[in-house]
Amino acid sequence: MDNLIAFFYTNKEAIFIIVLTIFLGFEVISNVPSVLHTPLMSGANAISGVIIIGGIILVGHADTSTLNINLVLGILAVIFGTLNVAGGFVVTDRMLEMFEKKRKK
């Protein structure tokens, strides 16, 4: 129990953000037309690639004097993360491009 209380107190800011963000997410996605479900999922998927920041921090301060397992895994994490981000945003844009094209006509 003491551990839990300590955990809450030391991380109170982060816990605040988490709780409020959960409500924010619920609010933002309301009344979405079903046409947009797929692009929205894809766009949200690209945002979940924010783990790339963690990858950058990790490799940024990694020991590069030798080729160690953590460095290799870290580089993989950066590549995977970027794939998620870049691929995600591009594919979402491609889906939405179609909507725009027809609107111009």
Binding site: N11, H37, G43, I47, V50, V78, L96
Partner: protein, 473 residues
């Protein structure tokens, strides 16, 4: 640039970095908000992408380790090469992929995000400075489940992995989940030496990966969009866990935001199919022997020329596209036919079922690619009241979304799902490759109805034949 800010004990760089994270978080929220409206969706995607780019660049320039050191040149080069590799690979695949394979691609990208989170957590576990063991382990488990689950979802969408319907899967999943929890508790207790813990973490990783597989395997292929959306929120949560380790607000907000928005989106998708999330996960969809006692009736075929006559001399035609249209890449020739009919004075509309194809909105994207005007696409609820006044409904490669069993057969696995009521139209022409069942593997009695004619063949060939016949009339 990196001078100390008076009184605060931090440098300008650190302030800029935190401020850019705040901006990035705001951009994510604005982006997703704009993405949920058709007119602003594309801009929304740009906002979110800009937020991500900003956070990446400022992290590269300003991030400092606990000891206060910035990112070294060697590390910087390694990161830039890795980012370039991911960007080129990701955008080339995303640009080149066919519109039909888009759901699979989203699934793959989600898998890479999950894998990245799992890797970061795995490395951070062995970092002695990291004190948030529980959060790290959760990130590892959730990321791994998102990864292996998304890969299975990809396999199912691509037809590489079949559905596994077995009653014991439910208990197996509960058991594996229990093992995962026990592992986390055991590692958290911290009574084992560091070396043993390292081994245990790899075992935990393996078990979590297995859980992802067994979690998705028993869920029917037709439900994959819902599953991908759910796994997408998992990836978000895993990223937020990693953000917790670094006390990085952009990661925490971005991750949790996707987690909660993704969960709501998942629920909305389930609603579009009139089912609950629990029903999707536990109740295995499809394969049911429902309605076997019903009389099958006779299948009546129609030739291209008869169909052409029927269509050209109607006043109102509704086209119901499905995955068969997408697979055959027949959207362009379909539009050609619609234009020909309109030249003959026929009113042509496209009826879009919310879950037609492999993903919600799949048909809208395909038809938009073929430049079918937006006004011609009518949603299910708006077209259904009009069905009895429709002369001919042309069903192209759709099956479950027009199956009347959803309305009147409580024993059918799709009972309760809203459908396009094509059986109420005066005539129905169904284009299909053969008498095979739909994606959900359920018999469709529409095909045996008195007002239904079957037109067998690949959607593209059949439509081309129709176009030629209509021209010759």
């Amino acid at each position: 640039m990196d001078t100390a800010v008076s009184n605060l004990g931090v440098t300008t760089g650190e302030v800029i970095l935190e401020f850019s994270y705040l901006l990035a978080a705001v951009f994510f929220v604005i982006g997703l908000k704009l993405l949920s409206h058709p007119q602003t969706a594309r801009r929304g995607n740009m906002w979110a992408a800009a937020g991500m780019l900003l956070a990446m660049i400022t992290t590269l320039i300003f991030h400092k380790s606990e000891a206060g050191g910035g990112i070294q040149m060697v590390n910087l080069i390694i990161i830039l090469v890795a980012i370039a590799t991911g960007t080129v690979l990701g955008s080339v695949i995303a640009r080149r992929i066919q519109m039909t394979a888009m759901p699979q691609l989203v699934s793959i990208f989600n898998a890479t995000g999950g894998a990245a989170s799992a890797l970061v957590a795995l490395i951070e576990f062995s970092n002695p400075d990291n004190e948030s063991t529980l959060v790290t382990l959760l990130g590892l488990v959730i990321g791994s489940i998102a990864f292996s689950g998304s890969m299975i979802a990809y396999g199912k969408l691509d037809g590489k992995v079949g559905d596994v319907f077995a009653g014991f899967m439910k208990y197996l999943n509960l058991f594996i989940l229990l093992v995962v929890v026990l592992f986390i508790i055991y590692i958290m207790a911290g009574n084992t030496p560091m070396e043993t813990q390292q081994v245990l973490v790899y075992v935990l990783l393996a078990v979590a990966l297995v859980y992802g597989v067994t979690f998705v395997l028993p869920i029917g292929g037709a439900d994959m969009p819902v599953v991908i959306s759910l796994l997408n929120s998992f990836t978000g949560i895993a990223a937020a866990m990693a953000g917790f380790i670094y006390q990085n607000q952009a990661m925490i907000l971005g991750g949790i935001f996707v987690g909660s928005a993704g969960t709501i989106l998942t629920v909305l998708m389930c609603k579009a199919m009139n089912r609950s999330l629990l029903n999707v996960i536990i109740g295995s969809f499809g394969g049911g022997g429902a309605g076997v006692d019903r009389e099958q009736g006779i299948v009546k075929e129609i030739t291209a020329s008869d169909a052409a006559v029927l269509l050209s001399y109607s006043s109102k035609v509704v086209i119901v596209p499905g995955y068969g249209l997408a697979v055959a890449q027949a959207q362009h020739v379909c539009n050609d036919m619609a234009k020909l009919l309109e030249n003959e004075g026929v009113e042509v509309k496209f009826a879009i079922h919310p879950v037609a194809g492999r993903m919600p909105g799949h048909m809208n994207v395909l038809l938009a690619e073929a430049e079918v005007p937006y006004e011609k696409l009518v949603e299910m609820d708006d077209i259904n009241p009009d069905m009895p006044n429709t002369d001919v409904v042309l069903v192209i490669g759709a099956n479950d979304v027009v199956n009347p069993a959803a309305l009147d057969d409580p024993s059918s696995p799709i009972y309760g799902m809203p459908i396009i009521k094509v059986h109420e139209a005066k005539n129905v022409v169904v284009m299909k490759r053969g008498m095979g069942k739909g994606y959900a593997a359920i018999e469709n009695f529409l095909f045996f109805a008195d007002n239904t004619r079957m037109f067998f063949g690949s959607a593209k060939d059949s439509l081309q034949k129709l176009v030629n016949e209509i021209k010759n009339l």
